[in-house]
């Protein structure tokens, strides 16, 4: 049902570390791989071997170039999937009740048996986290791997989202952001985890850890300071070095 819960028991979500994301697309492809055979309809691909291949994905990796006011341009890789917003506009606009936010963990889901494929929720999402599947005619979005995280058929350790499990750089963290003691909450606190487009007032659960400052030379060093007095020249120094051994 499309009225949002007053509050949810937990706030499960992802914390994505922009400081170490190398933009390898592993999480996006593994997401597609898991989910095309998982929750709801398959993630279809149109013209897959043709002139205009495209398909439905629940997670996509953008690459941005950022020009500081001074210093060299930087490149930041930017994974993007549903942020499981607390004030999820995609849910309240849904006319059929297919879109909803789960009371127990805050996951925003689409009940594909009820979705009529009107696309309004995708319009309501500021982040481009919903894609209407061209073959199934229903709305697809990140499920936070709801079919993994509680799945008794998977070993305990694997009850985490596919993207988190596969990320080679360890840039994706999964947990309960309503619990201040959780690993994710602490990361957010330490690293100043941020919301995307706060002005859209969606109150995203997912947080992004900003990249650390780049190209800042380590605390002022110079060899002269480290170096032995150079007066006697290198080979002179060598004698003393050998004495010490």
């Amino acid at each position: 049902m499309t009225t949002l819960p007053e509050q949810t028991d937990r706030k499960l979500g992802l914390v994505i570390d922009l400081d170490i994301c190398v933009g390898c697309h592993a999480c996006a492809v593994n997401c597609k791989e898991w989910n095309t055979g998982g929750y709801g309809a398959a993630l279809s691909d149109q013209d897959p071997y043709g002139a205009e291949p495209e398909g439905t994905w629940l997670n996509r990796i953008h690459t941005y170039e950022v020009k500081p006011h001074e210093g060299e341009a930087q490149i930041i890789h930017f994974p993007k999937s549903c942020l499981h917003c607390e004030d999820a506009p995609c849910v309240t606009v849904c006319p059929t009740g297919a879109s909803y936010k789960r009371v127990e963990d805050g996951i925003v889901l689409v009940n594909e048996d009820h979705c009529m494929g009107c696309g309004l929720c995708a319009w309501a999402c500021p982040y481009g986290a919903r894609e209407l599947d061209a073959a199934a005619g229903v709305m697809k979005k990140c499920t936070l791997c709801v079919d993994r995280i509680y799945n008794d058929n998977l070993p305990e350790v694997d009850r985490i989202p596919a993207c988190v499990r596969s990320c080679p750089a360890g840039a994706r963290h999964f947990g309960d952001l309503s619990d201040p003691t959780s690993e994710v909450s602490q990361l957010v606190a330490e690293r100043g985890g941020m919301d995307l487009m706060p002005e859209q007032m969606t109150r995203p659960v997912n947080k992004y850890l900003p990249p650390k400052p780049k190209d800042t030379p380590a605390p002022n060093l110079n060899l002269a300071k480290l170096a032995e007095p150079e007066t006697k020249g290198f080979l002179g120094w060598l004698d003393r070095a050998l004495e010490k051994i």
């Binding site: 998982g38 709801v146 110079n222 170096a227 070095a241």
Partner: protein, 951 residues
């Protein structure tokens, strides 16, 4: 749910009927994978999901984009289904399907007669992970013409590493990720260590460690690096030696380490003549050092010595000699190596070079720790502690794919040695069976006897001019001219020269070219268009200049169209394979490992009338038909049924076979042991791999660590302990220099003397990349390079329905200033020309890149009709290859000779030496050149996918 209740979810849906664990082959990283199988609509098992194997030493559970797209690779419409015999002209892609019996008979019919003159067969394999089988097969056939793709890949890295350290960055070692604090990475986009590097950098940065990326382009690892050094291509050697200069100048050098663990104290003869620059040795060939205590020359490995590091001494033979350390120090302290001398060329200011040297030194020496670690070295001296030097380096083709790559890699190893970081905790550490010195590697063999096996392994490491692959009158004995004066240390062969040499019949014609897993008619070759012509070029009598081409591929690639006989291989999920210690092993710094692949699904269940065979099985069966020694038993019957049979029962040396795990009748012994009939099952039970951890006391300083040496013998890496010290000064190089100076019986051709004198320097040097030195840089002011995209594997990723959505076409990235100069903006089209050719491409502006460097993603462009893609596929319409601009030869320079575009030491293809110019072009629909289309022997591709719909 107007009533306000949530739907009830099944949160524990059935995942898979069975999980089978094998090894990924979407690239050469060789990660462990769990393949989830589920019954498909027609009752056959289908792939539900592939995930990383958490227990596996390589990927420890993670999986990259390519590996995650394995399903689409496995079910690719481009899969070949049956053996193919060419019916149309070469290159047309017209074939008829034949049976396996016909195919193998045909191959035997073509190859059989060649055994009388085995050189007529050239057998080259691409990114082959079964080289210990393929090379052994070629040896038994008797041909000297065998190699894999290393010669155009990264042999500079491998050779420089082996000759200097007894192990290379390339696959044989890695940073000590857990302990290092400062990591400097040169010219790496992906490397073969795709996942481990990502994991390592992630951990290191999360621990607060510092990463510095040296690369003209700031993508991938360089994007996350804390500091980016946007160096000008081809100048790393200068930059690194400037760092060495600074460290020496400041005395920030680990003299004790160099003195004990390298040949820095070894005495170098200074007596003019045939021995000048060689080590002074005693009667039994042991190099000598000058012992301060006894004030006498002593063998370097004698315990309790205090070797001198400088001074001029009189050798036992009365000649003058000096420690190599002093020669090295004197060389690099020269202002010619000062930061100021490098700054402009490298595009890095002298101040910045100094600051970086200071940072490195600070971490190496001020943040070093002494940890309790009792161990015994090969001299028998015991040590209670070990120094941790938390500075590490890694490098790949960015420095090796240049014509000065070998010496640049050597320079980087010198830097590591000066800092004393190799095999120390926190530094760079080897993966068993490495470390392994040159002496433990074979000398290349090319001695041919009709109807008999080759004298020994084809590839190896030459020690002196006498080891070159030349016959009496100095003509090359190998079709690729490896191990000749043009490139004496071409340890991996020169696959990129095979087609042009075979076409030219130089040094001699071949009758049959057999290849495996290398798309030589496209992205794998320089000068692609000409290669396509050479493959179709005919003699007067109408026969092709390369009369027969047998090729094994799994998919409808560009190369398939140029084969006369195509052997369809399985996908990686349908095959037996072994990732063997005899080959390019997996494994980690703390353990030795090998692994298998096995048919987690049977080919015939994976598509209608799919009749493919694992190439290695086909090769073994062909060997049986040909009655090759080793492949048949005493009464001439095939010895092995297939690859699995070979993997289990073949013994290279008594007790040593393709797989090291669970040997012995009952699988009780590891490393050495009799064949175990259940060996493969044991691997399967264990997740597809075998891993043996190195005893703690043997983890570090392994070349000199007695404990490790004994363990290595136990494991079967060596038959006797092989301790050695690092070769800061490489004597074999000097031996070739001496020859060039006129000494010794083996003399190079005149025109090569000067180049050999320059290139074969026993101490690292830098020279201007050849193409740049030869073309007019005002005509071709820019560099052009390629990078591996993380989500694509060369050509073979483009048939993948998911990956091609990520990289369906490739723009040429152009630096902002160049865009402004030429009035270019993202989306414009431009002509890019080199001394050799011109391409028309779509560009995109980029600022986080070296100002003189254009770049694009590698191997995205495709030939129309290949890979079962529609003709209008973006890969074929707008995608492009830089290869059309790169020639395997340098432009003529008026001396009547065409010099090869490669490193003069190893012959490594100099892909990244390319110089170009750019001009704005009119808007366009298609990139150029257009090389026509090929017919596809593969099934038609579907126009929509809903994979997994059935579950």
């Amino acid at each position: 749910m107007a009533d306000g209740s949530q739907p009830v979810l099944e949160t524990s849906p059935h995942v898979s009927d069975e999980v089978r664990r094998t090894t990924c082959y979407m690239c050469a990283c060789r990660c462990g994978i769990n393949v989830h199988l589920r019954e498909g609509p027609n009752g056959a098992p289908m792939i539900r999901y592939i995930e990383g194997n958490r227990d596996h030493p390589v990927n420890k559970g993670v999986l990259c984009a390519k590996g995650s797209a394995g399903i689409m690779q496995h079910y690719s419409p481009a899969r070949l289904m049956k053996p193919l015999l060419r019916t149309g002209e070469r290159g047309s892609g017209e074939f008829k399907e034949i049976s396996w019996d016909e195919a193998l008979d045909k191959a035997a019919e073509w190859l059989g007669p060649l055994r009388a003159d085995p050189r007529k067969l050239a057998f080259f394999t691409g990114r082959d992970q079964s080289q210990s089988l393929t090379s052994w097969w070629a040896q038994n056939f008797g041909t000297p013409n065998y190699a894999a793709h290393g010669g155009f890949c990264s042999v500079n890295m491998a050779a420089a590493g082996i000759y200097t350290l007894g192990g290379a960055f390339w696959e044989f070692g890695s940073p000590d990720w857990d302990k290092t604090k400062f990591f400097m990475v040169f010219g790496v986009a992906e490397d073969h260590d795709s996942n481990p590097i990502k994991t390592g950098i992630g951990n290191l940065k999360s621990r607060g460690g510092r990463v510095v990326g040296v690369n003209p382009v700031r993508t991938g690892y360089n994007a996350v690096a804390d500091e980016w050094v946007g160096i000008t291509p081809g100048t790393d050697g200068l930059f690194i030696l400037a760092l060495c200069h600074e460290l020496l100048r400041a005395g920030m050098v680990d003299v004790d380490y160099l003195r004990r663990w390298s040949n820095a104290p070894w005495l170098v003869s200074r007596e003019p003549g045939a021995g000048f620059g060689l080590f002074v040795r005693d009667g039994d060939g042991k190099a000598l050092v000058w012992d301060r205590a006894t004030n006498s020359a002593q063998p370097f490995d004698k315990p309790g010595l205090e070797p001198e590091m400088k001074g001029t001494f009189t050798a036992p033979d009365g000649g003058k000699c000096q420690p190599s350390f002093e020669l090295m120090a004197a060389k690099y302290l020269d202002p010619e190596y000062a930061p100021e001398a490098a700054a402009e060329r490298c595009g890095i200011t002298a101040e910045r070079i100094r600051r970086l040297a200071a940072e490195i030194a600070d971490v190496a020496f001020n943040q070093a720790e002494e940890i309790d670690y009792p161990w015994t070295d090969f001299r028998g001296e015991t040590h209670a502690t070990m120094v941790m030097r938390p500075v590490s380096f890694h490098a790949m083709r960015g420095i090796s794919a240049h014509s000065n790559g070998f010496q640049t890699c050597r320079a980087l190893h010198l830097l590591q040695l000066l800092l004393g970081t190799v095999e120390r905790p926190g530094g760079f550490r080897f993966k068993p069976p490495y470390p392994k010195p040159v002496e433990a590697h074979p000398i290349p063999n090319s001695l041919v006897t009709p109807n008999a096996p080759l004298g020994g392994p084809h590839l190896g490491f030459v020690r002196e001019p006498g080891d070159l692959a030349l016959d009496e009158d100095g003509t090359p004995t190998r079709i690729d001219k490896a191990f000749t004066w043009e490139n004496p240390m071409s340890a991996h062969g020169l696959m990129h020269m095979v087609i042009s040499n075979a076409h030219a019949g130089d040094p001699y014609p071949v009758e049959c070219l057999m290849m495996y897993m290398a798309n030589m008619a496209w992205n794998s070759s320089m000068n692609t268009a000409s290669v396509m012509e050479m493959l179709t070029d005919k003699r007067e009598d109408g026969e092709y200049k390369i009369p027969k081409i047998i090729y094994a591929d799994a998919y409808s690639s560009e190369m398939v169209a140029y084969a006369d006989l195509v052997l369809p291989d399985t996908t990686y999920l349908e095959r037996h394979d072994c990732i063997s210690l005899l080959d390019r092993p997996i494994g980690e710094t703390d353990g030795v490992a090998d692994a298998i692949r096995w048919p987690v699904v049977e080919p015939h269940t994976q598509a209608e009338n799919r009749d493919v065979r694992c190439f290695q099985s086909a090769l073994i069966q062909l060997g049986g038909k040909l009655g090759l020694p080793g492949l048949v038993d005493d009464d001439g019957n095939p010895r092995y049924e297939d690859y699995a049979d070979y993997i289990t029962n073949h013994q290279r040396r008594p007790g040593v076979g393709p797989l090291a795990g669970w040997r012995g009748e009952n699988g009780g012994s590891h490393g050495r042991g009799a064949p175990n009939p259940r060996q493969i099952d044991r691997y399967i039970e264990n997740g597809g791999f075998w891993l043996e951890h190195i005893p703690y006391e043997n983890l570090y300083m392994r070349p000199f660590n007695q404990g490790y040496q004994d363990w290595a013998v136990e494991m079967g890496f060596f038959d006797k302990p092989f301790p050695y010290v690092f070769q800061m000064y490489v004597e074999p190089l000097r031996k070739f220099q001496l020859a060039a100076e006129g000494h010794g019986e083996h003399q190079p051709p005149e025109h090569l003397r000067d180049r050999l004198k320059m290139a074969m320097d026993p101490l690292p040097v830098w020279w201007e990349p050849f193409e740049q030195a030869q073309v007019d840089n005002s005509d071709f002011p820019l560099h052009a390079i390629t990078q591996r995209p993380a989500a694509m594997y060369h050509a073979w990723g483009s048939q993948n329905a998911w990956l091609r959505q990520i990289h369906g076409e490739n723009p040429l990235y152009v630096p902002g200033p160049v865009c402004e100069e030429h009035g270019l903006k993202t989306g414009d089209w431009a002509y890019v020309s080199s001394h050799h050719g011109r391409i028309k491409v779509k560009i995109a502006r980029m600022d986080a890149v070296n100002e003189k460097t254009l770049w694009t993603w590698n191997a995205i462009g495709k030939r129309e009709g290949a890979w079962a893609l529609d003709r209008g596929a973006p890969e074929a319409k707008r995608g492009f290859l830089l290869n059309h601009l790169i020639h395997e030869l340098l432009p003529p320079r008026g001396d009547g000779l065409r010099w090869s575009n490669s490193d003069p030491v190893t012959g490594q293809a100099a892909w990244y030496d390319l110089r170009v110019k750019i001009e704005k072009a009119e808007d366009s629909e298609m990139s150029e050149p257009r090389l026509g289309m090929q017919n596809s022997p593969a099934n038609a591709a579907p126009d929509a996918l809903e994979y997994g719909k059935d579950w």
